[in-house]
Symmetry: C2
Subunit: 257 residues, 2 copies
């Protein structure tokens, strides 16, 4: 049996009691550290679990099959950041496990997706398709622009995650993300992205360096945000209760959407 155990948003303390108990009973515990830059104190973690924990890198899952050969006939716990199956890598892992006849189950935990939506005060029912803004390359990510466009046309909000490559220690900053959006607007001229538009930034939720801010794009662009997983929300049409939340959560009376 392979059990994927969610770690939630930040640090080891986001694990559920059910997750903790399951990990304690496992024959072997792995910690996956490559899909999100969660900072884990390994001593604390191992003390809390009463067992040693092996760190698993991307290549250990994608190439070496380390985990699945251990899981045949044993209880293996794989602790992963966030809610485990939101990362497609983990879906593939479950598919591979089942091919080998290894049973799997998932113990869920907080995900940046619902946490960021909740902390924005906007209604989850009014969010359209989400996207991840990639670290800049030679190509502009127009699929992200189209995602915002589709949502805006329907009055829906868009949540964007900012890419973070943990193993290469690279992450997209808020400033770079906004510049990318404005460059795409300059090419496409769809009147989708506007410097005067209010956006919401949510960074490092549940960590000591956590940060939540909203403002017009051209102001947010030059602010510094801590180097932690970051989500950005581009609001669509606001319901009056969402306006009330905006004012209460961000002290902004007239967000410009």
């Amino acid at each position: 049996m392979l059990t994927l155990i969610g770690l939630g948003l930040h640090g080891f303390e986001g694990i559920s009691l059910r997750g903790l108990e399951t990990a304690r009973r496992a024959d072997k515990i792995f910690l996956e550290v490559y899909t999100s830059p969660t900072i884990i104190d390994m001593n604390k973690l191992q003390n809390k679990l009463g067992k040693s924990v092996s760190i698993l890198r991307r290549e250990d899952i994608e190439e070496k099959d380390t985990l699945l050969s251990e899981a045949e006939g044993k209880e293996i716990a794989l602790i992963c950041p966030g809610d485990p199956l939101i990362a497609t890598t983990h879906i593939n892992l479950v598919i591979e496990a089942r091919k080998k006849g290894v049973e799997t189950r998932v113990l869920h935990a907080a995900s940046i997706y619902t946490a960021a939506i909740g902390e924005s005060g906007l209604h989850i029912y009014k969010f359209g398709r989400m996207a991840t803004l990639p670290i800049p390359s030679d190509f502009l990510p127009f699929s992200v622009y189209e995602c915002i466009e589709e949502n805006k046309k329907r009055g829906l909000h868009t949540i964007l995650l900012l890419e973070c490559d943990v193993e290469r220690e690279e992450r997209l900053s808020v400033g770079e993300a906004l510049k990318t959006l404005l460059r795409m607007e300059a090419e496409r001229k769809g009147n989708i992205i506007n410097k005067k538009q209010t956006i919401i930034i949510l960074s490092g939720l549940e960590s000591a360096e956590g940060f939540k801010d909203a403002g017009i794009m051209e102001d947010i662009m030059y602010k510094e945000f801590p180097a932690l997983p970051t989500a950005m929300i581009i609001p669509g049409r606001l319901h009056f209760t969402e306006r009330a939340a905006f004012e209460s959560f961000f002290h902004l009376k007239n967000p410009c959407t």
Copy 2:
């Protein structure tokens, strides 16, 4: 300070370690039991917390202001099912607290939204707007039909939650939900809902009665599912990796979308 502490999907064991510690340190602990039919063993809960816990009903929050008058100058913990701010009632509570000068914070937990998407094996990036299917009344919920229509036209998946009124002990069954969808199709004739379409049902995730199934609508319609929170997914276009997940998770080779 008012801290909203998420309980995750089922029972007390879904709380995070951070949530548990915070509740233990609080001057007073409330448990909210009206937004989701979570079954909590109150003795176990109070033993684990080492404190008595007061049950809060909807009217206590919406009318009586019980919670907020307690929270002035004290540490109050409110334990809520799922991820706390996904329920709009809780967003309003935070707004009211802030008006009274009561600081608030949120400790996140697993939400049915990401848990159900994860367990379906479909990619979260390909989900459009979500909706809740209400318990039948005199009116057909055409806004839900339109939500599925918008998503389908863009090839996106739709997640629907089935309404559950905890205080009136009423819930929408899978069979009723599907009949409602077919009645709307019969009126609108948008070729959106089809009896031969494959759908996914996820019920009571992380509970002993939990259930996960997929099949064509006319077969699923007559199955019995346990009386627990239920999510339904109507898939849009499938990516080949999503097809692989479908086969692995539900033993269905050719889902009809």
